[in-house]
Symmetry: C2
Subunit: 233 residues, 2 copies
DNA sequence: CCAAAAGTGTTTTCTCTACACCCATGT
DNA sequence: ACATGGGTGTAGAGAAAACACTTTTGG
């Protein structure tokens, strides 16, 4: 029954680009790992692993993310497959990268420690092994595109967030400043946010109202062919 | 020296989604193959093949496209990797799809015949094997996105083309009508087209001026962060 | 009472859209 | 001379951009 038997077989891996957003430092961060095995032991890398016989690529990516963070059902998307022969000095490995957007505060800290993982500022990344830097660049590009067309940003913020925090996030992704009034006008006119009674009181005396993202309203808009473009400024 | 030796190995394939544009019928077409081997012999499929030990994914895609069309140095881009366990009934195969934009008139007709390939209208595709229809849908989505942001359309037209032909192409990609005056205003204002002396005289008595795409001007624009959006109508 | 961050509208500019007639020429 | 497809401009609507002051309250 086994067809194609004369063709070569390859090691296939998955690497996860885990994005998080640090509200205090107003920075995008990546969850990186100090490799504990050869080759490139002790160097920084993305979280990765090999694809097993009985799992799909998507399953492999979910498994690796779970082992690292203890999280399931995370917003994750395949981004690109890297197939150069010499990309991994250990062996010829074909690797598919996945990017995940997670809420920093949600991850299991013990697992993180256990895996030797740390959050690192995207703006000041250490040297990464192999072609992992390319993986990050490409994923960031895609993120910047997608943020214009989908409300992906909310996956990076806690359930409750202030408009200032949301704007800071968008500024971090776009890498430029956005006019406060235009931003609020636009984001509120989309009608996807629900204003809460509660205020955030850590960062200002006046306090800023919390909002939350309303998934149901978004689903409605989507069905009506709504365009979530955020081309403010 | 061979590390990772305890991990499973997989068949890895590449499938090529070859887009062409038929100027006369004003339709996007796909170059499809009647499979000559098992499983699914005699069914329509994309052009595909297995990745060898000594070639990268990109090389494999180029090779397969070359074997099919006799073309090299074609605009080709990786689109997505399909990794479900059961996607190919013959065996567990992980497959990366590539999409290519080619000029229909450029391909080697003998090779095409030899491979049992035919151009088929995208609007009226036959049933395709496995998940090849998904591959096409995804690639088409990407094409529709990219056309807004890059001048990819020119890869589908001959060197010399009229504005009417260019507009027809955009209408075929977007799947809707575009206002003639708005289209011309916008496309000409980008300053990427060079008007030739010569006229196309097949389709009208008056004749339509030929234009050609000016690659150098485009490179300039790109460096200045130019946005090639074509949101006409 | 004052420093610090939150919150709020209007005007101007630009881009998108809708729309209809003349031109050139082969038959 | 007429049928056929190629080519052209303008006015109105809507979206994006620029811009500065008032509010709240903990210390």
């Amino acid at each position: 029954m086994e067809l194609y038997s004369e063709y070569p077989r390859h090691l296939v891996a998955v690497d996860c680009i885990v994005f998080g957003y640090d509200i205090l430092e107003k920075e995008i961060k990546l969850l990186l790992i100090k490799r504990s095995f050869r080759p490139a032991m002790g160097k920084w890398s993305l979280a990765g692993g090999f694809v097993m016989e009985n799992e799909s690529l998507d399953d492999a990516a979910s498994r690796i993310l779970f082992q690292l963070t203890g999280l399931r059902d995370v917003y994750m998307e395949q981004s690109f497959t890297y197939g150069d022969i010499q990309r991994d000095p250990g062996a010829r490995v074909i690797s598919t990268s996945y990017s995940a957007l997670i809420k920093i505060q949600d991850i299991d800290r013990k697992l993180k420690e256990l895996n030797g993982a740390q959050w690192q500022s995207l703006a000041r990344l250490p040297h990464l092994i192999f072609d992992h830097r390319d993986m990050v660049s490409r994923a960031l590009n895609v993120l910047q595109m997608q943020v214009k067309v989908k409300p992906v940003g909310f996956a990076l913020l806690p359930e409750k967030f202030t408009l200032v925090q949301l704007q800071n996030l968008y500024e971090a992704i776009y890498q430029r400043e956005i006019d406060k009034r235009n931003f609020r006008k636009k984001i509120l006119s989309m009608n996807l946010l629900e204003k809460l009674e509660e205020k955030e009181r850590e960062t200002s005396k006046k306090g800023a109202f919390y909002y939350k993202f309303n998934e149901e309203r978004y689903e409605l808009h989507k069905k009506q062919g709504f365009d979530f473009s955020l081309d403010v400024n």
